[in-house]
Amino acid sequence: MANWTQTDGENAGFADILRNFSSMLQDGRHIFDAATNALVGGTDPETIREDLFSTDQRINRTEQRIRRQIVVHGTVHGAQSFPSLLIMMSLAKDAERIGDYCKNIFDLAALAPDLGSKEDRAIIVHRKDRVSALLGDARDMFDAQDEKRARTLLADCDKVENECDAALVQAVRDNGSGAAGLALSNRYLKRVASHTANVATSLVMPLDKLDFFDE
């Protein structure tokens, strides 16, 4: 694979953009864990509300900072930096969306929803642990720019998404106790996994196919 050998001048500014994005992923995992612990882990939502929302605001502010840095970087370095900057715009949006879905999970948790049987709850717990691990992997993979790891991550995210889809369909069809809570939980988990997968596609897909995983 071709190596983007960049001038030293271009590295420092772009490295800062990458660092900010990495911090968005870190914050995203933090509020995902907090929100899902409130949903299925027994944490009182009110105890984490302030931290969750302030972290989400930090994620949003970081996205705005990244956007400003993108404009500056593109202006100074010109067209050669254009593709990588477009990627970063897209990725920053994915990281911000992870934060938004975590807020959705928190809002659901605050309603103390019925999540069906004990087994159903256990599945949600297991699934959220996997998604949390995927978020951590995504950050490490992106920091290392590891293509091989990106492909593994994509496959893992795809599995989780399929499981979430199947669980959602089952919950709707059964329409039993906890259907709404289960459907929404799986929907939100799927969306977080999906945006996590989008981060991985930046390492394996061309720009025009970003977010479209070519199996």
């Binding site: 694979m1 190596n3 050998t5 030293d8 271009e10 500056v72 293509e147 897909m205």
Partner: protein, 394 residues
């Protein structure tokens, strides 16, 4: 399944440049600066040759620029020359060479220096016109570009009459020259003069070897001098922009987060480094267009660019023995520095060009032709008319 065109290259971050690369770039920069000084010397000697050959009227080389004895004609010529070459640094360097040759007095050159400040703002105004397709972007971009125009026009409106009626700029510059050069009437000894003279002699010898003499020799040397000036300044700017792109980016990011004197210092620093105020101010336009940089944030950077660009003329004066070359370079410094001192500390005063720029940009965003007409009138029609109306010479 269709084959994907291939994944994007992985972004890998290389380490800092090697010492060898840094040394090489530094040597290139020094060579270009030296070439620039040789160019100034070549232009200056060429003008003397032309005067001696009687090409420019009698034996008095002051006949050469009779046309700019009217200050408004001088101002107009300064604007026009800068608009054509797209570089105030080239204009002021050329003026240093011309004044250094003795062909033009400091007093007659002052309005042309002021004109260079106006002419140079066309570059970022043209950059802003590139945003014309999107109204909101164009409004922000055009305001960012024309605030520089309005500031420079305002300063000329203040300093030109001041110079005409009191000679404030030139007299102060003469006084400073006396302090720096250390004596009156004595020739100012430039420290690297001998090496510049040596290289100039080689250039002269090469042109003479073509069999040219008199007017033809002088004219050819003048063309060589101007071309070398343009080339060296262009390459200095290009080289420095590559070398310090990271620092420029860091400076611009700093501007977004700070206020007060920091943006002014960033503007000075970038402009001194790349030797071009147009580069600095043109970088601001797309950032303002995107809305990440406000007009209020961009304005002090432009003032800093005005100050930073005066270094080029000072450098050019190093190539000249004549104290007058240093004097006209100091006029450039005094004008730009004085402008900032008059405007920057006072909020009510520095808001004036910003308000004017916003108003013009608002109207132009509703009627883009107005923007084009503005450029045509301010940078072409008025100076051209002024030159034709007020110049006395041929």
């Amino acid at each position: 399944m269709s084959r994907s065109p291939g994944p994007l290259p992985t972004v890998r971050l290389d380490g800092p440049p090697s010492r060898a690369e840094l040394v090489a770039r530094l040597l290139i920069l020094l060579a270009l600066l030296f070439g620039f000084l040789v160019a100034i010397e070549t232009m200056s000697k060429a003008i003397k040759m032309l005067a001696t050959a009687g090409f420019l009227g009698g034996g008095d080389s002051n006949e050469l620029f009779r046309g700019v004895s009217n200050p408004f004609a001088g101002l107009a010529l300064g604007v026009l020359f800068t608009v054509v070459v797209q570089s105030s640094s080239t204009t002021t360097s050329t003026l240093v060479a011309v004044v250094g040759s003795g062909a033009l007095s400091v007093e007659h050159a002052v309005p042309m220096v002021l004109g260079a400040n106006i002419g140079t703002t066309i570059t970022n105004t043209l950059v802003s016109i590139g945003h014309m397709r999107r109204s909101i972007e164009f409004r922000r971009a055009f305001a960012a570009a024309t605030v520089h125009d309005f500031f420079n026009l305002s300063m000329v409106a203040i300093f030109l009459p001041l110079e005409i009626f009191t000679g404030a700029l030139s007299k102060t510059a003469y006084w400073l020259t006396g302090l720096l050069a250390g004596g009156s009437g004595a020739e100012y000894k430039s420290p690297i003069k001998s090496s510049i003279k040596f290289v100039h002699k080689q250039i002269l010898g090469t042109v003479e070897a073509l069999g040219l003499e008199g007017t033809a020799l002088g004219a050819t040397c003048l063309v060589v001098g101007i071309a070398l000036t343009l080339a060296c300044l262009y390459l200095i700017t290009k080289n420095m922009r590559l070398v310090i792109a990271g620092q420029i980016e860091a400076g611009m990011n700093r501007i977004l987060e700070s206020s007060g004197i920091v943006p002014l210092l960033v503007g000075i620093g970038i402009t001194v480094a790349v030797q071009s105020s147009s580069i600095t101010t043109s970088l601001l336009v797309p950032m303002c267009a995107a809305g990440v940089l406000s007009l209020k944030q961009a304005f002090p950077v432009m003032l800093g660019a005005n100050i930073g660009t005066t270094v080029t003329a000072l450098l050019a004066s190093l190539a000249q023995d004549n104290e007058a070359a240093l004097t006209i370079a100091l006029v450039h410094v005094l004008f730009n520095f004085g402008g900032v001192v008059l405007v920057y500390p006072f909020a009510a005063v520095r808001n004036i060009p910003q308000r004017m720029a916003r108003q013009l940009a608002l109207r132009s965003s509703r009627n883009p032709v107005m923007g084009l007409v503005y450029v045509l009138i301010v940078f072409v029609l008025i100076p051209l008319s002024g030159w034709l109306l007020w110049s006395n010479g041929p």
